[in-house]
Amino acid sequence: MFVQWRNVKLILLRELRDQLRDRRTLFMVFVLPLLLYPTLGIGMLQLTMLFTEQSRTIVVLGEESLPPPPLLNGDRFVRTLFLDANHAAKLRVITASDILRQQQERIQSAVPETSEEERPTPSQLLISGREIQSKLATRNQHRLDLMAAVARNDEAETTRLRDSLSQIQTELSEMFANSGIQVLVIIPERFDKNVERVNLELADRTRTGSISDYPRPVIVYNKADEKSSVAYQRVTEAMNRWEDRILEHRLELAGLPKTLPDPVKPIREDLASESQLSAMMWSKLFPALLVIMSMTGAFYPAIDLCAGEKERGTMETLLICPAKRIEIVLGKFFTVLSFSISTALLNLISIGMTGAHMATLAQRMPGAHGGTPGFPPLHALAWIIVLLLPLAAMFSALCLSLATFARSSKEGQYYLTPLLMFTLGLTVFCGSPGMELTPFYSIMPIAGVALLLKGLLLNPQETMLYWYAIPVLTTSIGYSLLALWWSIDQFQREDVLFREAERFELRLWLRHLMRDKEATPSFTHAVFCFVTIMMLQFASFRFLANATITPSGELDAVQTLKVMMVQQLALIASPALMMGIMLTTSMWQTFRFRLPSIKMIALALGLALAAHPLSLMLAVGLQWFFPPLPDGIARLMEGMGDPKQPLWMILMAFALAPAFCEEVAFRGFILSGFARSGRAGLAIVLSSLAFGIMHMIPQQVFNAGLLGLLLGLIAIRSNSLWPGFLFHFAFNSLSVLHGRLGRQLAANPDNLHQNTFFYTVDGQGHVLYQWPTLVIAGTIFVGLIYLLVAKQGASGQPETIDSIDSQPLMGNVAMPRV
């Protein structure tokens, strides 16, 4: 297709001017980022200055038994017990003696005790504290009784005590929640005397025999209540330091060194430099911001440019100008792209400046520790620009496609919000600590870019990362071209451009489904079938995982095989067959049940034989690329080769059931639906993608995706389900047999480390094919594919393609038209 760049430029310039005249866009793209971060920064500064934590109520019972040094100072903890002395003011301590003192003061100044507020008075708090204390004692007694009852095997008594114990526990929680106390500290009677006694006993070197323990203080709090939990942390901070001092005193009395309790206590040496600390901060912030902002930057202009244009009734005006659709899309695409890029860059600059400024401010403030988070190094900034381009291009094209589909701006927002949510989820995933770039992630959309940038900011010396840049950039550009192609495709579809604002009613739609049935499923039906299968797989995942584990926690092999077969039938074949019955008029055509020619059967079986060594060695060769298999799957794979299992059973579960069920679903219903788009090539690619994705584990997704292409081709060419079924069965059987052979070989050490012209056996008994085998298999494979794709079958009768409209077919998969 010949593109006139003059038109693209004209449209681009107009759209840019149009957007720049729109105040909402200007605000989102330019004003918001420039103001947002400085405003947030100022806000945070002010908040930290103005922030005052309300004081929390601590009730201390039995404070007269506190041993020295002093823990309390009037209604506060002693200030020096806190790392930050100001924390003392955040805890209001209520003790009996303090109340007494206050009452005396009040009597002296003749001020009556007022309870004008809802808040309980100190004396009420004290009473509640005492009630909780006695309840706790009751509960402890119950526990002892229960233990005794259990020891006596007194069932009736045990049940009764259990019930009443849980009753008391609930009452206790309620009492505490209603008391208005955040933390209750109970000092046992004679605690100071006991501490003193042990101090003396320890100091007495002449003394023999063990030193008896004494009742300990109790701290009551509620972890689920935020106030209580914060107060508890502060109380423990003070009490720990207080305990240290008691311990110091005890050691001093006993003439022991202060280091006695910490025989190890290592010296910490943190080598992180200031620049590394700042790099770490930027590596967390920038990738996420880059992804989210390039998405947001594309979001609003895309909606305005496509859905908005439809809404304002100017879409048709533009469509009747001589510019080609592709030129219009490109013009709009470059507009969205420039907004996406400028939004992302402006946000990065703004947050960078704000961050650096805040850091210098923080450094000047008293009590600052740590250095300035300097700006990221220049080369990292260059990388940001390089990576931003394909990323922004992909988002722009995606947003454009979805916005083209929408009829109004409002609808556009509905379609784009899921994309935004998905992107947010992915950035959170990439930002989590320990997430690093692997070959697998490097070819994932968005994640590859985010992780590469994270790595480059964190560790610019790592040369491996620069190698990763190649796949990351190539795939990113590929994804953006794919998305662009999609949006151009959207723009050429009448049903997308001229979608009438029809009222959607579920009843109407269902009636339409039932009424307007056709011989084969529609594109939407195919997507729906795939989504249903995926959902079922997902929903049944836990159930199936549990079903295969024996009570002893072992993996039950036979049970697993049975479950696998049931799963295949119930969750893959049944939905497809059900939909075939409900949504189409011809099961025969939809599932391609017609018998194939002998030639096709022979071709399918030959292809399976030839594909086996190729696929196996490809998987071996790409092992480094994929993340390692999850443990459970690996064990399942092991079980597949286990010679103890009956072969027929394994073949049923791993070859027959999948061959039938997956073919019915993916080459039957789903492929037929996709083929209705009129493009056989696209249908094959989409069905193989669906087939791959259903396999979940990256290795299998890749493998199944490739095989899906082959199976789709076979199904379309033969227009029958059965050759694909035979291929699938033969291919899976070969894999099973290959695994079993390996296990048998491994049993005898003589078999290992063989090396012949065609194959080798490695240390674990895996049979690996040598290159001559691969060359032969490859040649046969290519020859058979040629036979498959080349003109009509040997039977002389053309393989009819009923399901495909008489429209030109895509790509090199030239098909005879009937």
Partner: protein, 247 residues
């Protein structure tokens, strides 16, 4: 100039299932002629005209506009037509001048010629005072003027008007019809759709009555009168429609 032969169009619809919008429409329009496409709502007028302007693709049949096939050379067709309908709005955030200038450039007009033509069109259509007014600030009448200016800026030999007066007040509608009449005098080939009888009677040289995607009758006013023995166009129209409904 316009040659339509056995044009067909069908699409699927959620409510009605597979819908045939056009089933075999044929007609010819010559230069210096106004051809009226008369029919009730949903008759297939807009679909026909959208196919002629290449915005929709026909599912069958052939249409040649200004010597180019709409299916094979859609860009060429679009370059040689002026199209105006109630769906071809104008941009809110562009002034009248910018809007017409932009489309002139898209039509590939040479810059100095474009400026000349802009001046003359803005003068003839009395648009000089709204030159720098943004689309969002214009009244319906002003917008309609801009649309007409946009339609004729590249001086196309073929013009397509799809219900150009719908939603306009009497004064504006009259002005629009007057402009169309002037264009005819310049020798343009004009196709015009409406459901208003008066407009057809006043303006059109030949008429096609279209209903449910089919042409029921075609010819000049005099020819139709002779053929059906009914001098009143409105009566003729209802007769034909109700006969076709009954069939």
């Amino acid at each position: 100039m316009i040659h339509v032969e056995n044009l067909q169009k069908s699409f699927s619809d959620l409510r009605r299932g597979q819908v045939t919008a056009l089933s075999g429409v044929s007609f010819d329009v010559h230069p210096g002629e106004i051809f009226g496409l008369l029919g009730p709502n949903g008759a297939g007028k807009t679909t026909t005209l959208r196919i002629l302007s290449t915005v929709l693709r026909p599912t069958g049949g052939q249409a040649i506009v200004a010597g180019y096939d709409v299916s094979k050379e859609p860009e060429k067709v679009r370059g040689h037509i002026g199209f105006m309908s109630c769906n071809t709005g104008i941009y809110d955030r562009m002034t009248a001048w910018e809007m017409v200038e932009y489309f002139g450039r898209l039509y590939g007009m040479e810059e100095s010629f474009l400026q000349q033509r802009l001046e003359s069109i803005f003068t003839t259509l009395q648009m000089q005072e709204i030159r720098d007014v943004l689309g969002s600030k214009m009244s319906t009448g002003m917008k309609q003027k801009v649309s007409i200016a946009r339609t004729i800026i590249h001086d196309p030999p073929v013009m397509i008007f799809d219900e150009p007066t719908s939603g306009l007040d009497v004064l504006v509608a009259r002005a629009v019809l007057k402009t169309i009449a002037t264009l005819k005098d310049q020798g343009k080939c004009i196709i015009f759709s409406t459901h208003i009888m008066r407009e057809v009677e006043k303006l059109c040289d030949r008429i096609a009555i279209i209903h449910r995607g089919q042409i029921l009758a075609i010819g000049s006013r005099a020819e139709l009168e002779k053929l059906y023995g009914e001098p009143d166009m409105e009566e003729l129209f209802f007769d034909l429609i109700s006969k076709s409904e009954a069939a």
